[in-house]
Symmetry: C2
Subunit: 458 residues, 2 copies
């Protein structure tokens, strides 16, 4: 141990090797509910070369490492396990280039998402990945977990936004695929292996991201709907009649909507009546006048056809934000309501109604008093479900029930949050034995000593 620490102190400088009391709480736990664990050391490299050197050394000495970005993951992937060294990417933080002609930007992995977004905006382009933890999460973590967020229906998951990647493999090899083109079919697209595999195959150090023109117009509305079939039809009509301009189609069930309004004082509904479903619809485009006209026509026709019961079009950016605050109120809710079980599942949209019926029925059959709150990125098949009886001992049973139903409906136990350590035992609900076997083979091929984020995912 001492030899290891001495080695890194020599190569990184003592201020970049933290041990004992110097290891702050930021390095001991991510945003999951699991217990903090102090790593045997925290290394803070500032370059790809240093990371390569660290991994090469750790691989030779079979020293396990955990990779840390913004520590906002919710499945325990970055929380150290006993005997691990933490490698924090916090010093690998820079926007290296914005190439407007090619519509790309080149960033270092430890750069916070919000810094990436702001750098893009300063250069009058748009990096459309956006999620609640934007201020803390890092782009490397976003890529390693293939983060989703609020604009997937328009721009895809993080995977769709990554053109090039630089990764350091377990043995220290630097795999550089810093491609800047939309099209590149020269051999296997290796970067795909590392996107979404939660750091178990390599450490992402740099990336080329795709950027888009800044939207020149935005339309937002909160809509009230009285049954689930109408929600689905409303989604399809919006996709068709608003062209490619739909950025967000966020659905909130009444059980979520009214709980969040009750729990958080500052929030108010734009409607006086209550409805079974609420849809937050947002489009962006290029011509505010023509787009407003189209948006109003679309909502007018949906009202006339009784597809929606009411609609409040945001008259200002402030009002649009007040709609989003209801949707994003979940953050506060999760802090106030534990113990609870919190799900991030996806199921085919055609099976979603039956899935939710099944979840409701089985949970209510098992527990006399249970609150169930549902909301989600419906256009992406993604539902977030919060279920609580108020008792910690019920959480595991609730999880077992919901994940089993998810498997039966060929859904995913993790739409966007990943597997980490928290969902590892449920992976077989969503993946076959053969799939898990191949994941293990790939891990064995790329990290034969099993030093990288060991024990996560598989």
């Amino acid at each position: 141990m001492k030899k290891l620490i001495d080695h890194f102190t020599l190569t990184l400088g003592s201020q970049n090797v933290l041990t004992g009391e110097d290891i702050g709480t930021r390095y001991t736990k991510d945003s999951s509910v699991n217990k903090p664990q102090t790593p045997i050391a925290v290394l803070r490299p500032s370059s790809t070369e240093q990371i390569s050197e660290i991994l090469s050394y750790c691989n030779q000495h079979k020293q396990k490492v955990v990779v840390q970005g913004g520590m906002t993951g919710v499945v325990g992937g970055s929380t150290p396990q006993a005997g691990e060294i933490a490698i924090s990417l916090e010093r690998l933080s820079a926007v290296e280039e914005i190439d407007k002609a090619s519509m790309t930007m080149t960033v270092q992995a430890g750069t916070p998402l919000q810094k990436v977004q702001e750098a893009a905006k300063e250069d009058d382009v748009n990096f459309p990945l956006d999620l609640g933890s934007r201020g803390s999460c890092t782009i490397g973590g976003n890529i390693a977990t293939n983060a989703g967020g609020n604009q997937v229906i328009r721009y895809g998951m993080t995977r769709a936004l990554v053109l090039g990647l630089e990764v350091v493999l377990a043995d220290g090899t630097v795999l550089s695929s810093m491609n800047k083109m939309l099209k590149n079919n020269a051999g296997m697209d290796l970067k795909q292996l590392f996107i979404g595999s939660e750091g178990i195959l390599g450490i992402i150090t740099r990336a080329v991201l795709r950027v888009f023109p800044q939207p020149l117009s935005k339309c937002s509305a909160m809509c009230a709907v009285d049954n689930f079939d109408a929600v689905i039809e409303f989604l399809h009509r919006a996709s068709s009649e608003l062209g490619g301009s739909v950025n967000s189609f966020e659905v909130m069930w009444d059980n979520y909507y009214h709980t969040v309004l009750r729990e958080i004082d500052q929030l108010t509904s734009p409607f006086e009546e209550n409805f079974p479903f609420y849809v937050l619809l947002e489009t962006t485009g290029s011509n505010q006048q023509l787009d407003d006209q189209k948006f109003e026509q679309f909502l007018g026709a949906a009202l006339e056809d009784k597809l929606i019961q009411d609609a409040a079009i945001a008259q200002s950016q402030q009002q649009a934000e007040s709609f989003w605050n209801i949707r994003d109120g979940v953050g506060l809710l999760l802090n106030r309501l534990p113990p609870l079980a919190n799900f991030d599942v996806s199921v085919p949209i055609s099976k979603m109604k039956a899935f939710i019926d099944s979840v409701n029925n089985q949970l209510k059959h098992e527990f006399e008093n249970i609150d169930i709150m549902i909301f989600g990125h419906l256009g992406d098949s993604n539902l977030h479900i919060i279920a609580r009886t108020g008792k910690e001992e019920d959480v595991k049973t609730i999880r077992n029930i919901v994940y089993q139903i998810t498997g039966e409906f060929h859904g995913s136990i993790s739409a966007e949050h990943g597997i980490g350590t928290e969902k590892k035992n449920y992976l077989s609900s969503s993946r076959t034995t053969e799939e898990i076997e191949i994941m293990k083979k790939l891990k064995q091929t790329l990290d034969p000593e099993n030093i990288l984020n060991s024990g996560r995912v598989i």
Copy 2:
């Protein structure tokens, strides 16, 4: 050999095992320029189970196989090599399901692309992958080669359109990942390994595809531009001001445009004058009236700002097709003009001008009389270059020059056509030693006996 044939005759039926004279020319060569080669047998399985059984047997007997779809590939990937058995997927052809609520369709790999497009259209949805060989190429081949085509700028490459995949591995293992959701982060996204790896890691048997609403409006124009910087600015303006509605931004250099008009009698330019560049711009949307208005306003402003010199807006579907015929005339041109060198490269848009200058200068320096024709999907960084001196013996030198320059500009030697056997020797122009090493390791992991499309890509 006889034992092998007897075995397959027993399991597949004699009509599905072709040997000797019964092997038609369709099985001896793809659409590349390489030489025909008769395989030792052609197997025509009709199910995933049969393919699994075939591979399991071949793997045990170290019998190499070549996978065949529509035989429209241009890099030699499906042309048999000596001693190989061909597995044709032609009988694995069906659209199994269209799930409109989930916006997915489930297809078998041997289904021709056009049949997939038509089935989607019949159900009033849109499968947006489209390329010239649509009538013959199969969706399995499109996925295995990550096909591009004419609408990548809007909908992405084939990779972006695949939600789920079923693959048979070299040892016969069926790897089923028939996911129907936009979001699924439950473990590694294994399908990404097989998309674009040209059948060297497994045989794709079924897929879940993403479909979109049918466009309700379309606007097309041929535009004349007088310098390359203006072409780039026109691209960025279109992306910004026409929102997410740009489907195609095809650029033709005058050397291509005028050659194709001269060579093919039926084609006419909408302009009386000649210009250095021509852009075929196409948008689709949801409201013909409002979209026409936006499109005309956009082109009017571009004319006024002298960004473009002239524009012809298609007044009918027929006129739009006449514009596309100029772009697609390359098919006829390639048949009429050999010997020639034909390139499918991509380079970062910011370097494209310097790249083309370098290609022109070096080729003209090397050859006194050389015709160079350029066109491409500029928004995707993808250029097609045709260069000819009229002499077969110059082709190799031309290739060496262009691929070397492509490497120097960090471009790709294959934007959309793949590597196959034809470009294998040039792979290192676009990929590093470490990347090629990892490709080989992955091949070794998934196909240790090297029976699948051996000798292709790497």
